[in-house]
């Protein structure tokens, strides 16, 4: 925490330390406690905080009640909420309990294909061996 950063925090979030960014609050408080410049900044920020508090909207109870009734009347005329469209993963979520069996089946399938592939390769090499020898003999 530098004095410049502390000044930025006070200038943006004011003197009420609960509003300061949580990740920097402890370091900022420690620096503010031993900085005379910070004390002046905090005093000016507190005046702005107080002014903001003076003009804070405090809706009257009657207006709130009337608006709540108005909203309820409008909601009563509106259709029901739109259903959420499911993504692909959510649509196949019901298959989740079968996932271990599916993974096992996939592993067996891959192993089977691998065995067939390598088996074919070996047989081709066995078949090609004598043919290559006879070809070499004819050339000689």
């Amino acid at each position: 925490m530098t004095p410049a950063r502390l000044a930025e925090i006070i200038a943006a979030f004011g003197a009420e330390t609960a509003r300061w960014p949580a990740a920097e609050r402890a370091a900022a408080l420690a620096l503010a406690a031993r900085s005379p410049e910070a004390a002046a900044l905090l005093a000016e920020a507190a005046a702005v905080d107080a002014a903001l508090g003076l003009t804070r909207p405090r809706p009257e109870a009657e207006r709130l009640a009337a608006l709540r009734r108005r909203i309820a009347g409008e909601i009563a005329r509106r259709p029901l909420p739109a259903a959420r469209r499911l993504g692909l993963l959510e649509r196949v979520a019901w298959l989740e309990p079968f996932a271990p069996a599916g993974v096992g089946a996939l592993a067996v399938l891959v192993a089977g294909f691998a065995w067939l592939f390598w088996n074919d390769m070996d047989q081709e090499l066995v078949m090609l061996g004598p043919q290559a020898l006879s070809l070499m003999g004819s050339l000689l």
Binding site: F13, R19, P57, P59, L64, A82
Partner: protein
Amino acid sequence: MEALALPATRRLAMRPPPRAALDRDRPAAPDAQLMAWAAQGDRPAFDALVGRHLPRVLAITRRIMGAAAPAEDAAQETFLRAWQQAARFDPARGELSAWLARIATNIAIDALRSQRAGEPVEAAEAFPSPAPDPETGLVLAERQAGVAAAFAALPARQKAALALVYDQGLPGEDAAEALDITPRALEGLLYRARRLLAARLRGDKP
């Protein structure tokens, strides 16, 4: 016969709720549960949510818009949109209050921006505040009027940033998300707004 003449959506709306819905303890239910019920079409559950969150939502729209009537329209629009999109609310992604604050902020900023240039804007209305004696009350009223005028002159996004962080006490990250900006950009908005208000408090001319 009369009911059959109505559109299907209205007939569904008039359908009596199932027995399970009648047994719901809505006043005690948490926000997420009420929203889940609302997503199923439970209007009383949604009304309970309106009762809980309307003061905060109206405070946000009124702080941004100033005048009472448009702010109430914006607050109503916030809840109508929340009703329509109730199924989209995901409690795992954040609190309902933050979700509503985001909707309210966007609606209020859009409404403020859509006011045509040159159209007379209704002045910000003063909020009642207790005054201990006439002299102090006069000083307070003058200061309040000065700050209110300075606040009214702020750009919509700066007003929204102040409303979310100062009035609603949202953490910087949540306020930034509601405004769809980075936390650093939020600090910039707050800094500029507070600098202007501080200048007005010192008596500097606008």
